[in-house]
């Protein structure tokens, strides 16, 4: 039983890492433009298909491939901001929200149109699928790679936001756009950077998603995107550590829900996750590590 439980915890951590990678982007973007970007989940799909193309071409060593997927996600995220969200920056929240939803629908259908609706197989090289025994637990290499890479990337982003000059500029814009402009900070660049960073992380999550679950399709991003948003809400929208925490809580909760309850409940997995969201929103609307909007000086 303990062994089974540990196995489930490893699975939960892997899934949680993927949620966390996507959730960080939600937080970065919300933090800077107060926009819940529903098209964010679709960058998971874009990352997965980019990775599929690169794996198929079989030209690149893996670390470089990850980097290239990250870069593609960065560019896609920034491009989507520039094309679709730039002109609604000062629009009311509801307008912005509906525009992001429209962009998401457009991206998904454009992908359907170009790539077709058939799911495609996505296989990692044998090295990643090899299984190791660590104590009582038997895990695939990929199950270790995912959390390590996720935490590494999250750490780098956090360091960047807290320490670097551009990161400080992003935080300044997030707090007070007017004052930031008066400091000579280029708002457009800061906003594009937030979308780009978020996009890069989401694309890497897409790469791992494909490798872990074996199949990808044009609509694969939407539900993980929604769940990652739920993770963001649990952790507190706008906070990067919160997004990490929320991602891991949600990943563990979801896997344990499926793993520990009788199998006839497994179909209620998504229902459980959304139920959890509604519960968290009602009990702690600002999330675990969130900042009350009213507190912002």
């Amino acid at each position: 039983m303990t062994q089974y439980l540990l196995q489930q915890i490893v699975n939960g951590l892997t899934l949680g890492s993927l949620y966390a990678l996507v959730a960080i982007g939600f937080s970065l973007i919300y933090g800077i433009v107060r926009l819940v970007n529903f098209a964010h989940g679709d960058l998971v799909m874009i990352g997965a298909f980019t990775a599929l193309g690169l794996v198929a071409s079989n030209l690149l060593p893996w670390p470089l491939l990850v980097l290239l997927v990250l870069l593609t996600g960065f560019l896609a995220g920034a491009a989507i901001e520039r094309v679709a969200f730039h002109s609604i920056r000062n629009a009311p929240m509801v307008t912005g929200f509906i525009v992001t939803l429209s962009v998401s629908v457009a991206i998904q259908n454009a992908a359907l149109l170009i790539l077709g609706g058939q799911p495609r197989n996505f296989v990692f090289p044998a090295l990643f699928r090899e299984r190791l025994d660590i104590g009582p637990v038997n895990v695939a290499v990929i199950d270790l790679v995912i959390p390590v890479v996720a935490l590494l990337l999250a750490g780098l982003v956090l360091l960047f936001v807290l320490r670097s000059r551009l990161g400080k500029a992003m935080r300044a814009v997030s707090e007070n756009t007017l004052a930031a402009q008066l400091m000579g900070i280029n708002i457009n660049r800061a906003v594009m950077l937030a979308f780009g960073l978020g996009g890069g992380l989401a694309a890497v999550a897409g790469l791992f998603w494909g490798g872990k679950y074996g199949q990808i399709d044009p609509l694969m991003g939407f539900i993980p995107g929604l769940k990652a948003f739920i993770a963001t809400v649990i952790g507190g929208v706008g906070s990067i550590p919160g997004a990490l925490l929320g991602g891991y809580i949600l990943g563990l909760a979801e896997v344990l829900f499926v793993g520990l309850l009788p199998s006839e409940y497994a179909g209620y997995r998504d229902a459980f996750v959304f139920g959890l969201l509604i519960l968290v929103l009602l009990v702690k609307p600002n999330g675990l590590l969130g900042v009350d909007e009213g507190e912002r000086a």
Binding site: V99, L101, N109, Y268
Partner: protein, 328 residues
């Protein structure tokens, strides 16, 4: 030309009657189905205008209420003889029902309204995108139940062979009823209070208007109509699956309301008719070019353009072509 609301209503009634008679005259089943589904969309768009447009909520939950309403009604009307093998786990009292459509519609609507009352009491405390995600979640939760309660709903395989009980006259009458109710509501003191909440909830509360209570009323009323519309659909197309009413529908309904003007009833009617027929007429194009997804992209781009150029939709709160009497 501006008409009084009563003459506009009679004109609409005549146009509707004409359209129904015309489709039946041609005896074209395809056209009749198309008309029926477009009218159901009008019903949905007007009811979502009531929920979102009047009170400023951002609910995406209509498909959840439609799914519930549809399953309730279908279980009630489904022929007894086939229930025993299609839906084996129905409790005895449900297995023996053999209702006609109107009471089943009512039951579907009430079930949806009840769900809205329970869920709304909890989630309507949430604002904007939080509410949107919570209501999206409601769709996924309801679909999850429909998928997993195999013996009652036949799960993912869906229920087929549903009697086509919904004739277009009945749907037309219901559409008129829904429009009349929404119109009366908008121009009543309750409706004005809802609009006040939408414009400025804090200021409204200073006049003793409880935003929460009004939003709950609007949410439940919208859900009842959605439940009935959901109940009608499988009785037109003869099939019901857990995915019949999903996220894309939620999006398209919001598109109709936003394009129409978030609060304009005539706007919602026009937008619903335009978007439904647009997607129907573009479908052959989509199929001949094998560009599946094209229609949805067009609707999404249309919505983005409307939001960029006319953030308050085509008509805002106004009712085009109809004289409205200023409140006394």
């Amino acid at each position: 030309m501006r008409l009084g609301p009563r003459s506009a209503f009679i004109l609409f009634l005549l146009l509707l009657t004409g359209a129904i008679i015309a489709t039946q005259w041609f005896g074209n089943r395809y056209l009749e189905t198309l008309l029926a589904l477009s009218l159901i969309n009008v019903m949905l768009a007007v009811s979502l205008t009531l929920t979102n447009g009047f009170t400023g909520l951002l609910s995406l939950g209509h498909p959840a209420f439609m799914t519930l309403g549809a399953y309730v009604a279908v279980i009630l009307t489904y022929p007894q003889a086939r229930k025993s093998f299609m839906l084996p786990e129905l409790p005895a009292w449900l297995a023996q029902t053999d209702w006609t459509l109107p009471p089943a519609l009512l039951a579907g609507g009430l079930a949806a309204g009840l769900l809205a009352l329970i869920v709304g009491a909890a989630v309507l405390r949430l604002k904007t995108h939080y509410l949107a995600v919570a209501t999206l979640g409601l769709i996924i939760i309801v679909q999850g139940f429909a998928n997993n309660l195999d013996g009652i709903t036949r799960g993912g395989r869906g229920i087929t062979g549903i009697p086509r009980l919904a004739d277009v006259w009945l749907i037309g009458a219901l559409v008129l009823l829904v429009i009349a109710i929404a119109w009366r509501l908008k121009h009543s003191s309750l409706g004005r209070a809802m609009l006040a909440v939408r414009e400025n909830e804090l200021a409204a509360s200073c006049f003793g208007i409880s935003g929460f209570r009004l939003q709950l009323i609007a949410f439940v009323l919208g859900a009842i109509v959605a439940g009935m519309a959901g109940a009608l659909t499988p009785h037109v197309v003869a099939v019901l699956t857990p995915k019949s009413f999903g996220l894309i529908l939620a999006f398209n309904l919001v598109a109709m309301v936003v394009v129409g003007g978030q609060g304009s009833i005539v706007g919602a009617i026009i937008a619903a008719l335009v978007i439904s027929s647009l997607s129907e007429f573009l479908k052959p194009l989509e199929e001949s070019l094998e560009l599946y997804g094209l229609v949805q992209i067009i609707i999404a781009l249309l919505l983005i353009m409307v939001l960029l150029w006319r953030p308050r939709g085509l008509f805002g709160l106004r009712e085009p072509c109809i004289k409205t009497v200023p409140p006394q």
